[in-house]
């Protein structure tokens, strides 16, 4: 099993009112990841806007001119910081009306989601929405950060009551591994330092948790999945007969000599060599990018998938999926769209809309179409068979995007059931 623990991708879900920007600012500031020129630039802007002496840390993440002018956040921004233990990538998503689309986008690559709650307000509709979206996209680790503990006298009782209510709700979604942290982003309690005010809390401060959470098991280590990206045929004197299949191991592992099945054809052969620029390997693991040569000459092209016959994926022209509609133009059920799934691109139609989920109440509704930010269960038909796993089993082979051929826009994200 590979050890990828040095890089953690996480998102923060919550509105400005929950102190989200303050929390990110606090993490960056206390881990010394804000630079002097950045600080002086946002200090200047804060003053020009007539701020009352306080530096507005949200200006750090608002990168676009329109955002700074209007004081809003438009899109997902990625921020980077590091401690001696780990490197971090924060997917910072704005709140408000486009929230679903942005959060789903940022969550799709995240190992962990921090869901922020205002201790005075407890579990709100938006808390449920954020949690539902995190579970939908299968974010492996959830941290419930109960912020503004300073506003409730650092009360353990208040914290426990919020945790109990949240735990009951999360159980309905099948989420059980949740870490609860009381904190005050404003004062810095339990963010990077423990502080003096929350001594009743036995767990780690937030940063320590982020540094130590075990994410090795997030990858599917049992099912070898290798979508062929590119066929390498150098056709040089030295490599006259070389034919390598380039790709990234999306899950599982492979060794030279292992038997593999090529899908969708179903032909079997053995891996001859695992070739890399740094020399051949005996064994390789997800998420390594490698080149495989095979024992037999078989007609293989981009879009085919190598697997081991002991753990076969499904191959079908029909499947059901949870879909998040991302486009401003609604779904047109009479049209054909394009699906990109792993390295395969195929035409598709929407056979049925099973139901739409109200992200605030989790209630299911009938629906004739889908609009931006809608989440729905759909039945799809594709022109050629796809080789897939359920999303719960495998994030890489269970996900796809839908593209509108007329505009080439990405209009939906799908997770196969």
């Amino acid at each position: 099993m590979s050890n990828t623990t040095q890089l953690l991708r996480f998102i923060t879900a919550g509105s400005v009112d929950d102190g989200k920007s303050t929390l990110i600012g606090r993490l960056l500031h206390d881990s010394k990841s804000i630079f002097e020129d950045q600080l002086s630039a946002i200090t200047k802007t804060s003053e020009r806007r007539g701020g009352m002496g306080a530096v507005d840390l949200s200006l750090l993440t608002d990168g676009l001119q329109a955002e700074r002018e209007q004081g809003i956040t438009i899109d997902v921004a990625y921020r980077y910081f590091a401690t001696p233990k780990r490197k971090f990538i924060i997917g910072d998503t704005p709140g408000h009306e486009q929230y679903t689309r942005n959060m789903v986008t940022a969550a799709s690559t995240a190992n962990l989601a921090i869901i922020l709650i205002d201790a005075r307000k407890g579990v709100l509709t938006q808390t449920r929405r954020h949690t539902f979206l995190a579970s939908l996209v299968g974010v492996p680790h959830i941290v419930l950060a109960v912020n503004k503990m300073d506003m409730v006298d650092y009360s353990e009782e208040t914290f426990n009551a919020i945790c109990a209510e949240y735990r009951a709700f999360a159980a309905q979604l099948g989420l059980h591994e949740i870490t609860f942290i009381p904190l005050s982003a404003l004062n810095g309690d339990m963010v990077v330092e423990r502080g003096e005010n929350l001594n009743w809390y036995q767990g780690s401060p937030l940063l320590e948790l982020l540094e130590n959470v075990v994410i090795d098991h997030d990858l599917n280590t049992t099912d070898f999945r290798y979508p062929v990206q590119w066929v390498c045929r150098p056709q040089t004197q030295e490599y006259h007969d070389f034919r390598g299949y380039m790709g990234r191991i999306e899950s599982g592992e492979i060794a030279a000599g292992d038997e593999i099945t090529i899908l969708p054809s179903g032909r079997t052969t053995k891996v001859k060599e695992i070739v890399t620029y740094d020399g051949n390997l005996q064994r390789a693991y997800a998420p390594q990018s490698v080149t495989l040569t095979l024992a037999d000459e078989i007609d293989i092209s981009r879009g085919d998938m190598f697997v081991k016959s002991a753990t076969m994926p499904q191959a079908s022209k029909e499947f059901e999926a949870m879909l998040c509609w991302l486009s401003e133009s609604p779904l047109d059920l009479s049209r054909k769209y394009i699906i990109k799934h792993t390295t395969r691109v195929v035409k598709c139609v929407f056979a049925r809309l099973e139901y739409r989920v109200d992200v605030n109440t989790l209630e299911q509704h009938n629906s004739a179409t889908l609009n931006m930010n809608d989440i729905a269960r759909v039945a799809m038909k594709v022109q050629q068979p796809l080789v897939f796993d359920s999303y719960i089993k495998n994030r890489f082979t269970g996900s796809f995007i839908v593209i509108d051929e007329a505009t080439n826009n990405t209009v939906a994200a799908g997770m196969i059931i």
Partner: protein
Amino acid sequence: MSNQPFTHLDVLESESIHIMREVAAECKNPALLFSGGKDSIVMLRLAEKAFRPARFPFPLVHIDTEHNFPEVIACRDKLAADLGERLIVRSLDGSIKKGTIVLKNADQGRNAFQSVTLLETIAEFGFDACIGGARRDEEKARAKERIFSFRDEFGQWDPKNQRPELWDTYNTRVHAGENIRVFPISNWTEMDIWEYIAREKLYIPDIYYAHEREVIRRDNGILPVSHLVQPKSGETVEKLTVRFRTVGDMTCTCPVESHARNAQEIIEETAITRITERGATRMDDQTSEASMELRKKEGYF
């Protein structure tokens, strides 16, 4: 168990290789933008890892401002020759002769004008994808840009109307005349670049390492003296030990004072620096809060 631990650099490297192979497989006529700077040298190594033992499935393209440091141009030519890959160079002077770039004065900074020559080069060769070495940690407009960043037929970036980018499933589709800019090292930081240069023992222009240089102090920065930058009256030439954190247009790229003579010493310095890479070295990014965003909207990298 794996033979060796899989580090964050391995994760980033594999992600970048995956991105480059997606471009090769799905785009009809891609190009790799290569300047001879450190980020684009990292890109070359990633391309080797992605495509060897075959040749690169794209040419290298440099948009030359003619304001580059000679050491960088020498390194550009050496690396392209060593790899045996095709290098296409198009100069801003070509656009100036044609009249598509009009300068106010001959010595003014040329970074902003690169867009014009880049778009002309894209049109000349019909490139539908340009792979570049920009990183999201460089600048706040870049922090919001997709890895596959769509540009319309005028080469413009529309930050408010970007395609959502989920998982590692990239939408590479364009109509005729449009193109995509692809940034395989989006998720790398300045520190990651230096750690990779050290790990891979990459050859980079020696002006990245500490050396003695004649400089003048101007507009809160230090500028290297060259045929393009001469002291004005009242300015004095000093000799300082400096290195460059970025290598761009000589008229607006500032070195930093440093004694770091190799990649390891630069890593140690980078770990404790309190100023961002562009903040320390690029005068043209400081003219307004949105300098980079405005340039990108006009077709910049």
